[in-house]
Amino acid sequence: MATVAEPDTRADSIEAFRAEARDWLAANFPASLKGKDNGLSALEGPTELSADEAAWKQAMGEKGWGVPTWPREYGGGGLSRAEARVLAEEMARAGAWNPIGGMGVMMFGPTLLEYGSEEQKREHIPAIARGEVRWCQGYSEPNAGSDLANLQTFAEGAFDEEWGDHYVVNGQKTWTSGGQWADKCFALVRTDKTNKHGGISFLLIDMDSPGVETRPIRLISGSSPFCETFFTDVKVPKANRVGEEGQGWTIGKRLLQHERQNLSGGGSSASRFFAGKSLHDLAKEYRGVDAEGRIADADLRMRIVRHEMDVRAFMATLRRAALEAKAQAGPSAASSIMKNVGARITQERAELAIEIMGMQGLGWEGEGFSADELAQTRTWLWGKAVSIYGGSSEIQNNIVAKRMLGMLDHQ
């Protein structure tokens, strides 16, 4: 039987896309920004963009490549996962970085695409894709931390001529990341006081509504990336509810899965910190080497080795989980450990770094310390939050015990 050599259309189209991405980046990514990702994250306040940064953000926003796999019709890139990977490779090659980020991209957007009404998606997704709207998360409350479903912020149904069907929201949220700078808040509120999990609804609240007040919380690192947010008789149209009344816990938990996915990358940048130095470079610089060129302090040296091995095991697990997720079209069992391992690595790395520097790593401000040293001290202090936010390590372990190991709830 004669065979006709069929062109591998899939491979061809991927390579065609690679060429397209490369050309587009060459035409649109300002050379001046090469490798200068300033890590504009949701936790930072608004920063003045340079002309090149603004142009780059606008180009990516219009192209939709800041959210490459989101649907084209809502302003996303409409790319397949394979294409998105190619785009990431080409961006890395060009030294380009994604100027579109924040909670809207990481958590809220994917959740709204899944649960939002057509009107809600059309209203909110394109603005997130263009990086125009800052979202914050109204989840935790003073008495609803690990026990999130204990939240008490109450949204009472009401009607008047001006607002039509609406809610009147009263209560307090805390750890509102970037709340002082956010335009909008996706919040879990209670619409039924008689039903713990089933009485929660998912509500979108304008942060400039009358009755919304934010108060920054100063952390042990000296920064204030979080707020307390107070709601006093805040009117919110019922049209701003995502999903049905009482569906908020289901939607809210889905969003947390997106959050966990984004938080688990923590340990993967292990080799890049302190002005690009690895821990062992840092140790050799600060502690010196012995006659054989080894880090002078044998005890410290072996703990750095143990840490580096931990990092490599984590990286291998990230790779394995990605492959398994692709092969089985669902999350790998290994994904359940990612946040805790990522947090552990982040914190150990910071602990080792300041131990390496000795007193030089304990500066708060002023003379006698380099900018890198002072930054590392603050990084160490801030890093203590990593095992607390986004579901503490204890809660992650509960999830592993219950979901992965089939263990029973605490009675």
Binding site: N143, Y286, E355, G358, M359, L362, W364, G366, I388, H410
Partner: protein, 355 residues
């Protein structure tokens, strides 16, 4: 708890009462916020002087009470509980160096004023960002030159006990050739950079005295760490009993109970080695180096564990500046680093014991 005589028990109770009533953590917070150049509150130090604590290890003929290091440790422990910022440890250990090595004239000139708290004495030992007992400071014609780093209480010190390559010296803080500049660390206490440039110096002893003084300082630090860790633990334990999540106090969760039990275990071990080192000083034991090394190593690891767990078990509130947990971790890390980290003490332990 070490077996105390009546005098010691009374001193401990008095210290506990004073720190609770007069020097709560809010006083430390106020000091942090107002940032006095000395790194401590002068009025509070004045009260400590009136109570005679700076003279606890000073011989009676020089205005002290000569109660000894276990007594000093009891006071430092109570102060450590509330993170009291005061130059007591530095002054007391420096006073011992002067008492053991100074001429009669030197002792007469400095000890009574140190014992009353009028003069702060500081130990200018380390020359870099960690304790390694390697000294380049040198003496030439009775004048000392060298650079000393992170000198605790160096900002206010009226007199320095300085380690040079060949031994320990005393330098008047007001002498020509003494220059200091402040270093702001995470604990908001005094850690000055001090440069001696041909400053007039009096010899106190050879390198054996330097080693001994370092061990005294490490033991005093360990006593403060014992109080710090104990209070961090108790505050955390109280919080777990009070904080309700999932409809019950956190203290009902076995996973947390076991973590607290583990910390309690470590704290008991820590108390034993710290008190043993304090007692070894008072007993004049020749193996003080072993006891101090063990105490500082165990103290370092325990205070590290407990101060980190304090934040983690408090959850988000422990990350806020408004809560005290961060103060405990910051001071803990400084104390862990001063006078030999746990890693350095382990290495030293290995060498001392022929491993």
């Amino acid at each position: 708890m070490a077996v105390l005589n009546d005098e010691q028990a009374m001193l401990r109770d008095m210290a506990r009462e004073w720190v609770d009533n007069e020097a709560p953590v809010s006083a430390y917070r106020r000091m942090r916020d107002t940032a006095p150049a000395a790194g401590f509150d002068a009025a509070s130090w004045g009260e400590i002087g009136q109570m005679g604590w700076p003279g606890i290890v000073v011989p009676e003929q020089y205005g002290g009470s000569a109660f000894g290091y276990l007594s000093l440790g009891l006071v430092l422990e109570q102060m450590g509980r509330n993170l009291v910022a005061a130059p007591l440890a530095a002054s007391a250990v420096a006073a011992t160096a002067i008492a053991e090595g100074g001429s009669d004239a030197v002792k007469q000139a400095w000890l009574p004023r140190i014992a009353s708290g009028e003069v702060v004495a500081a130990l200018a030992i380390d020359e870099g960002p960690r304790h390694d007992r390697r000294f380049e400071a040198s003496i030439s014609g009775g004048a000392l030159s060298g650079h000393k780093a992170f000198v605790a209480e160096g900002d206010s010190a009226g007199v320095f006990v300085v380690a040079a390559a060949d031994g320990l010296y005393l330098v008047d803080g007001a002498a020509d050739g003494v220059a200091r500049s402040p270093r702001r660390l995470i604990d908001a206490r005094s850690h000055a950079d001090v440069r001696f440039d041909g400053a007039a110096a009096e010899k106190l002893g050879d390198t054996a005295l330097t080693d001994r003084v370092c061990d005294l300082a490490a033991t005093a630090a360990a006593a403060e760490m014992l109080g710090l860790a104990s209070q961090a633990f108790e505050t955390t334990n109280a919080y777990l009993k009070q904080r309700v999540q999932f409809g019950q106090p956190l203290a009902t969760f076995q996973a947390l109970q076991h973590r607290m039990a583990k910390m309690f275990t470590e704290l008991e071990l820590m108390r034993s080695v710290v008190e043993a080192a304090l007692e070894a000083i008072d007993a004049g034991r020749s193996d003080l180096d072993q006891a101090a090394c063990l105490a500082k190593a165990v103290a370092g690891e325990t205070v590290h564990l407990v101060s980190r767990e304090m934040i983690q078990l408090h959850g988000g509130i422990g990350m806020t500046d408004e809560h005290d947990a961060g103060f405990y971790m910051k001071r803990a890390q400084v104390l862990e680093t001063m006078w030999g980290s746990a890693a350095w003490q382990r290495e030293r332990f290995a060498r001392m014991n022929g491993y």
